[in-house]
C-alpha cells in the first residue's frame, strides 16, 4: 500500500518537476552565456498560457491530428511512471520492462510523426522523415546500451537491474563505461538537444521536433511540449537508475525515502548542469553528420556488449 502511494507521488513528481527541469536547464544555459534567463518557472508559465488559449487547427486536419497529443502525452507519462525514481521496488515497474519502455516511447514518436504529416505541409513531412530516420538509428543503440546492463543483471526489469547494481560491489566495469557513453549520446539525440536538434530554435531548416509540432496550438501544443519535458526527465532518471542508483530507497520508511528523493533531485540536477555545459560548448551538427554520431553511439554500445562477453563473463 505504502509503495503504491510512493508510486503515485513519484509519478506526480515526474510530471510536475519536468517543466521545472526544463526551466533549470534553460537558466543554466543563460547564466553560462552571461544572460539572466527567464527563470526556472518559465516553462510552467508557458504551459499555463497555452492551456488557456484557444485551439486553432487546419481545416483539413484529421482525427489523427487531434488524438496525437493525447497519445503522445499518455504514452510518455506511462513510460515515465514505470521508471523508479526514489523507491527501487515500485508496483508499476512490473507493467513494462526496459524494452517495453522503449516501445512506449516509440509509440509516442510514431504518433508525433503521423501528426506531422497530417496537415500536409512541407515542414511536417520533413520533421517526420528526419525524426523517424534518426530514431531508427538511435533506438538500436539505446537498446544495446541497456542490454549491457541487462546481461549482467540477468533481467530487463528496471527494479531487478537497479537491485543488481546496488548489491554488487563497486567496481569499474569497462562495459558499463561504454554503455554510459552510448546512452548519453542517444539521450541527447532522443530529446532533441544540441548537437542534434535545438529545442530553442524555431523556423530553422534543420529543425526536427519543432517541425513536427509547428501546426499545433493551445492545449494540444501544451501537451506536446509537456510530453517532451517529461521525456527529458525520464531519460535523466533512467540514466541515474541504470548507472548510478546508489542512494535509492529499498524500504518505504520515511527517512530513506526523503533521502532518496533529495539524492534523485541532486543527481538529475547534476546531469542537467552537464547538459547545459555541453549545449553551451557545442555547436549543432550538420544534419547528415547525425547518422555518423548515432552509428558511433551504436558501435560504442556494441563494444560494451562485446567487452562484457569477453572480459566480464568469464572473470
Amino acid at each position: 500500500m505504502r509503495s503504491a502511494l510512493v508510486q503515485f507521488f513519484q509519478a506526480g513528481m515526474l510530471l510536475l518537476l519536468a517543466p521545472l527541469l526544463a526551466g533549470f536547464v534553460a537558466t543554466c544555459r543563460a547564466r553560462l552565456q552571461n544572460r539572466r534567463g527567464a527563470g526556472v518557472m518559465q516553462p510552467w508559465r508557458n504551459l499555463r498560457k497555452l492551456f488557456s488559449k484557444e485551439v486553432v487547427m487546419a481545416s483539413h486536419a484529421s482525427w489523427i491530428f487531434r488524438t496525437a497529443p493525447y497519445v503522445v502525452f499518455t504514452a510518455t507519462v506511462m513510460a515515465a511512471s514505470v521508471v523508479p525514481a526514489m523507491l527501487v521496488d515500485t508496483p508499476l515497474s512490473l507493467i513494462a520492462d526496459v524494452i517495453a519502455l522503449v516501445a512506449l516511447l516509440a509509440l509516442s514518436r510514431f504518433f508525433q510523426a503521423l501528426a506531422g504529416m497530417d496537415i500536409g505541409t512541407a515542414f511536417g513531412g520533413m520533421g517526420a522523415s528526419r525524426e523517424m530516420t534518426f530514431a531508427a538509428l538511435g533506438e538500436p543503440a539505446m537498446l544495446m546500451s541497456i542490454f549491457v546492463i541487462s546481461l549482467s543483471a540477468h533481467s530487463t526489469n528496471l527494479t531487478s537491474m537497479i537491485n543488481h547494481t546496488l548489491n554488487s560491489p563497486f567496481a569499474l566495469h569497462p562495459s558499463l563505461a561504454f554503455a554510459l557513453v552510448a546512452m548519453l549520446l542517444v539521450a541527447l539525440a532522443e530529446n532533441g538537444r544540441i548537437p542534434i536538434d535545438n529545442p530553442t530554435t524555431h523556423l530553422e531548416l534543420t529543425m526536427i521536433h519543432e517541425a513536427m509540432i509547428l501546426e499545433y496550438s493551445g492545449r494540444h501544443l501544451a501537451l506536446m511540449e509537456w510530453a517532451a519535458m517529461v521525456k527529458l526527465l525520464l531519460f535523466s532518471t533512467l540514466i541515474v537508475d541504470l548507472f548510478m542508483p546508489w542512494g535509492m530507497a529499498v524500504n518505504t520508511d520515511a527517512i530513506s525515502l526523503v533521502q532518496a528523493f533529495g539524492l534523485w533531485l541532486l543527481k538529475v540536477a547534476g546531469l542537467m548542469i552537464a547538459l547545459a555545459l555541453a549545449e553551451t560548448g557545442m555547436a549543432k551538427l550538420r544534419l547528415f553528420d547525425v547518422p555518423e554520431y548515432l552509428s558511433g553511439a551504436f558501435v560504442i554500445a556494441f563494444l560494451g556488449l562485446l567487452s562484457f562477453y569477453m572480459l566480464e563473463v568469464g572473470a
Partner: protein
C-alpha cells in the same frame, strides 16, 4: 477420441475447399458463383480455426486416407504443430474470404479465381496435416501451381506474366530442393512415412545435407534473402485478397515445412551448432535487407511484399536462436525462442493479411498502387484508414498490439542466452538482437511513411480525391484481423499456453507454468524478477490517463477553431509540396547509400538563359542488389550454357535414338 474430432474438422475443411473449387462447374451467374465460393471458403476458414483450436487443446490423432498410390496410402496426422498452423491459416482465411465477397464484386473473370483460390487453400491445409513425404509433396505442388495461376491472373500485362514465370521457376527449384531433403531422409530409413523418419538415425553429414536442402528449399519459398527474388515481383501483381493469403499464410507454410523437417523429423538432438548460426545469420540479413528495400518502394503492394521478407527474417531470428539454444542444452530457453517464432508467425499472418487487404481497399477505391499519387484518404476512407493504422502499429512493434509481444519475446530469448560455444558465436546473438531492433525501428519509419503518404495530408491526384469508402464486406473482412491483433497484443498470457504443445512435442519442456505464474495479466516468460510485461494494464493506464487529460482539458463550450494551415505563415501550399514517399526516405537513402547503390539522375533544363531554370526532373531508382549480383549472372550463365548446347536439339533421328540408348544404359548401370 477428441483428437479425431480435430482431424475430422481439418478434413472437413479440406472438403469444403474442394467443393469451393468445384463451384464453377455449376455455371451459375457471376454473382451467385462469387457468393458460393466465398461462403465455402468462409466455412473452410472457420473449420480450420476450430480444428486448430481443438487440436491445440485436446491433442491430435492420425488417420489413413483411402487415397493415393496403391502401396502408399495418404497418411494424415494432427499434432500441436499442425494444429497451430491450421489455426493460423484459418484465422486469416476466414476474414479474407469475407473480404473477397466484397472485393471481387465487379470482377468479370471470376472462374479462374474460383477454381484456383480454393485449390491453393486446399494445398496449404493438406501440407500441414500430411504425415508422409508423398502427401506433403503432392499438396506442396498443388499449393505452388495453383498460386502460379493466381499470380498470373491479370496475364494481359507483360510484367505480370514475367512475375508469374519467375515465381513458377523458383517455386519449382524450391520443390526440388525439398524433395532432395526428403530423399536424404528416405535413404536413411527406407520409408516415406514421417513416423518412420522421426525414428531413423541419420549420420551427421547426411543430416547436414538434409538440413541445407530443406533450408534452401523452404527458404526460397519463404523469401529469405537472397532467395527472395520472386517475392516482390509476385505479391504485387496477384489480386489483393490472394496477396493477403500468399504473404500472410503461404510464407508461413514454408516456415511450417522447415520446422516440420528440421525440428520434427530430424529432431532437436541432431542440431549442429552451425545450423542455428546459419539460420540466425539468414534471419538477420533478411530482416534488415527486407526493411531497407521496403523503405525505398513507392508501390504500396511491393513495399508490403518487402516487409514480408523482413518479417520472415524476424521469425528466422527467433528460430535460429532456439536452434542454437537447443544445441547447447538449454531446452527451456529454446522453447521460449520457438514460442516467440510461432507467435510472430501468427502475428505476421494477421497484420500482413490486414495490410494487404487495406492496400486492396485503396486499390479498389482509387485504382492505384503507386503511393506518390495518393494522400488524404483518411477523410474519404475513414474505416479503412483506422483499420490500416492498427496493422501499421502492429507491424511496427508498438504496444499494445501483437507485433510488440513477439518481438519482446525474441529480445528476451536473446538476452537470456548464456555463453554459447566460442566468442564469435556468443557475440552473434546480441548482434542479431541489435539487427532486430534496427529492423523494428526502420519498420516504424516505413509505416509512418506509408500511412502518412497514403492516408494523411492532401490528395495528390484526382483519383485520390475522388476515392470512396469500400463496402461492408471488405470493412468486416479487415475488422476481424484488427481485433485479433489487439487481442493477441493484450492477452498473450492466454494464448501462449495454447501453443505450449509445440515445445512439448519438440523439446519435451513446457513453458505454460512460468508464463502465467502471475495470473493472466502478467506475461513473465521465466520469472517475474527477470522480466514482465502487461499490455492490458499499460493500455488501461493509458486510457485512464488520456481520459483524465481529455476531461481536464476539454472545458465545455470551447470548440476548436478551424482555419487554414499555418505552415510558417505561408498557407498557400500545394499538394505537390508535401513530402512524398521518395522524399520521406531520402535521408535513409543517403545514410545507407552503400547498400542501396541508388541511381540518381537530376536533369535541369535551362533553355532560355543559363540562369533561368525551365524544368527540373529528378529520377531515382533503387534496385535489388540480389537481383543484380546473383540472379542476373545466374540467368546469363544458364543462357550461355543453353546457347552452347542448343544445336544438340537440331540433330536428326539417329542422334535422338543414341540419346535414348545412352539413357537406358545409364539407368541400367545405376539400378543393376
Amino acid at each position: 477420441m477428441s483428437g479425431f474430432l480435430s482431424l475430422d474438422l481439418a478434413l472437413a475443411a479440406c472438403i469444403t475447399a474442394l467443393l469451393a473449387a468445384l463451384t464453377p462447374i455449376l455455371r451459375t451467374s457471376t454473382h451467385v458463383l462469387r457468393s458460393m465460393f466465398c461462403l465455402l471458403l468462409v466455412a473452410t476458414g472457420l473449420l480450420a480455426m476450430l480444428s486448430g483450436l481443438t487440436g491445440l487443446i485436446a491433442g491430435g490423432g492420425a488417420m489413413l486416407l483411402p487415397l493415393g498410390l496403391p502401396w502408399l496410402p495418404m497418411h494424415v496426422r494432427m499434432d500441436a504443430l499442425s494444429a497451430f498452423f491450421l489455426l493460423t491459416i484459418g484465422s486469416l482465411l476466414f476474414p479474407v474470404a469475407i473480404y473477397s465477397q466484397g472485393y471481387l464484386r465487379g470482377e468479370s473473370q471470376l472462374t479462374v479465381l474460383a477454381i484456383f483460390m480454393p485449390l491453393f487453400v486446399l494445398g496449404m491445409l493438406g501440407i500441414v496435416i500430411s504425415d508422409d513425404a508423398f502427401t506433403f509433396m503432392l499438396f506442396w505442388e498443388l499449393m505452388s501451381i495453383s498460386s502460379y495461376f493466381l499470380v498470373a491472373f491479370k496475364h494481359e500485362n507483360q510484367e505480370n506474366r514475367k512475375a508469374a514465370f519467375i515465381y513458377l521457376l523458383m517455386a519449382h527449384m524450391a520443390g526440388l530442393l525439398i524433395l532432395g531433403s526428403f530423399a536424404v531422409l528416405y535413404a536413411a530409413c527406407g520409408s516415406f512415412e514421417f513416423s518412420v523418419m522421426r525414428e531413423a538415425f541419420v549420420s551427421p553429414v547426411w543430416a547436414s545435407a538434409a538440413f541445407l536442402l530443406a533450408g534452401f528449399g523452404f527458404g526460397t519459398k519463404a523469401g529469405v534473402v537472397p532467395l527472395h527474388g520472386w517475392l516482390p515481383e509476385a505479391h504485387p501483381v496477384a489480386p489483393s485478397n490472394v496477396s493477403a493469403l500468399m504473404s500472410g499464410v503461404m510464407l508461413k507454410v514454408a516456415i511450417f515445412g522447415f520446422i516440420r523437417v528440421v525440428w520434427d523429423l530430424m529432431g532437436a538432438g541432431d542440431f549442429q551448432w552451425w545450423w542455428g548460426a546459419l539460420v540466425l545469420a539468414a534471419g538477420s540479413c533478411s530482416a534488415v535487407t527486407g526493411v531497407l528495400l521496403a523503405l525505398q518502394q513507392h508501390d504500396l503492394k511491393r513495399l508490403l511484399a518487402y516487409h514480408s521478407i523482413e518479417n520472415i527474417g524476424i521469425i528466422l531470428i527467433a528460430l535460429g536462436l532456439a536452434m542454437l539454444l537447443a544445441h547447447y542444452g538449454h531446452p527451456m530457453l529454446a522453447a521460449l525462442g520457438l514460442i516467440a517464432a510461432l507467435y510472430h508467425t501468427i502475428n505476421h499472418a494477421l497484420f500482413k493479411g490486414l495490410l494487404f487487404m487495406g492496400a486492396g481497399a485503396v486499390l479498389h477505391s482509387t485504382g492505384m498502387r503507386g503511393m506518390e499519387s495518393m494522400g488524404g484518404l483518411i477523410h474519404r476512407m475513414p474505416w479503412t484508414a483506422a483499420l490500416f493504422l492498427v496493422a501499421c502499429m502492429s507491424i511496427s512493434a508498438l504496444p499494445p498490439f501483437n507485433g510488440f509481444v513477439s518481438e519482446w519475446l525474441i529480445f528476451q530469448t536473446a538476452l537470456m542466452a548464456p555463453q554459447l560455444g566460442g566468442a564469435l558465436l556468443t557475440a552473434i546473438v546480441p548482434f542479431s538482437a541489435a539487427m532486430l531492433a534496427l529492423a523494428g525501428a526502420l519498420a516504424a519509419a516505413c509505416f509512418v511513411k506509408v500511412f502518412g503518404v497514403v492516408f494523411l495530408g492532401h490528395a495528390r491526384s484526382k483519383e485520390a480525391s475522388d476515392a470512396h469508402e469500400v463496402n461492408d464486406w471488405m470493412k468486416v473482412g479487415m475488422a476481424i484481423p484488427a481485433v485479433f491483433c489487439l487481442l493477441l497484443g493484450i492477452l498473450p498470457v492466454l494464448f501462449i499456453p495454447l501453443m505450449d504443445g509445440v515445445p512439448q512435442m519438440m523439446l519435451q519442456v513446457s513453458l505454460a507454468d512460468s508464463v502465467h505464474a502471475h495470473g493472466w495479466l502478467w506475461l513473465t516468460p521465466v520469472d517475474v524478477s527477470h522480466s514482465s510485461y502487461s499490455a492490458s494494464v499499460a493500455l488501461l493506464g493509458m486510457l485512464m490517463l488520456g481520459g483524465v487529460a481529455f476531461w481536464l482539458l476539454h472545458p465545455k463550450g470551447t470548440n476548436v477553431r478551424r482555419s487554414v494551415a499555418w505552415s510558417c505563415g505561408n498557407p498557400h501550399t500545394h499538394a505537390r509540396m508535401q513530402y512524398n514517399a521518395t522524399s520521406f526516405s531520402q535521408p535513409l537513402r543517403r545514410i545507407f547509400a552503400g547498400i542501396y547503390r541508388a541511381e540518381e539522375h537530376v536533369r535541369i533544363e535551362r533553355n532560355r538563359h543559363k540562369l533561368l531554370t525551365d524544368h527540373v526532373s529528378y529520377v531515382v531508382h533503387v534496385g535489388d542488389m540480389a537481383v543484380k549480383y546473383i540472379y542476373q549472372p545466374v540467368d546469363r550463365f544458364i543462357l550461355f550454357i543453353a546457347k552452347f548446347i542448343q544445336h544438340e536439339h537440331e540433330r536428326g533421328l539417329h542422334a535422338y535414338l543414341a540419346y535414348t540408348l545412352l539413357t537406358i544404359i545409364f539407368l541400367l548401370a545405376v539400378y543393376i
